[in-house]
């Protein structure tokens, strides 16, 4: 299964959190792991703010070598337009936009997120959400 990881699932893979067990379960199910490149900034901000030890940073380096990072080749205004009806926070809109675009080429892609607003928006777009049901 192709899984698109939002930061809310990636960070609990690195540091112990209430969602860590579920995050590891989602990771185990993934055959291909995708993410928007902004996830790097968010994940590293989270590690810094939580004063993560070197082991967590080493884990991040290993993990990130197993993820396919995507960037947008079009205009960011497309994300704004996409978000007009969804009204997500800015970064969440970016993650969901990239996931939606990926799903056009790879319809089996599932979104992995612990963010309830993103899950609801993904449902509205008809995207599969990993770990649902």
């Amino acid at each position: 299964m192709d899984v698109f990881f939002d930061t809310s699932v990636l960070v609990p893979l690195l540091i112990e959190e209430p969602g860590s067990v579920r995050a590891v379960e989602l990771w185990k199910r993934a055959e291909v792991a995708w993410a928007w490149e902004w996830v790097v900034v968010e994940a590293e901000a989270a590690l810094t703010r939580r004063r993560a030890p070197p082991e967590a940073w080493a884990l991040w380096r290993t993990l990130s070598r197993r993820i396919l990072f995507l960037r947008l080749s079009g205009e960011l205004s497309e994300v704004s337009e996409f978000n007009r009806l969804l009204a997500l926070r800015a970064a969440d809109a970016g993650h969901l936009f990239v996931c939606d675009r990926l799903a056009r080429r790879k319809p089996e892609t599932q979104l992995a997120t612990f963010d309830s607003e993103m899950k609801a928006a993904a449902g509205r777009l008809g995207l599969g959400v990993a770990g649902q049901g």
């Binding site: 112990e16 209430p18 968010e42 884990l59 995507l70």
Partner: protein, 105 residues
């Protein structure tokens, strides 16, 4: 596709081209009875570079591109992350949710 042996013999090259393009097996018949099946050879394995180029082309159709980190050592399979305790030793925080709630825009 069904073809009589005489026809097949007379136009072998044509049928081989069709087979390569359509991948549809050819059933060779003698007196309406199938006597042989000809199937397409497997496509040669693509190299990593070719696979990456193919993936890039596919993603470009969706307005996406792989970053320079885009060819990983391997996928998630075979690697099990073991989350470690953060420097503040708390395990009850949902870091990303908290970060996002701090900046709700």
């Amino acid at each position: 596709m069904k073809v009589k042996v005489g026809e097949f013999k007379a136009h072998l090259s044509k049928y081989l081209r069709q087979l390569r393009e359509s991948k549809e097996p050819i059933e060779v018949c003698m007196r309406e009875e199938p006597v042989a099946y000809l199937t397409a050879a497997k496509d040669p394995e693509l190299s990593d570079g070719e696979k990456r180029a193919e993936l890039q082309r596919d993603l470009a159709e969706a307005g996406l591109a792989l970053t320079r980190h885009g060819l990983p050592d391997g996928g998630p399979t075979g690697f099990l992350p073991r989350p470690v305790r953060a420097g503040d030793t708390r395990t009850d925080l949902e870091t990303v949710r908290r970060m996002r709630e701090e900046k709700p825009y």
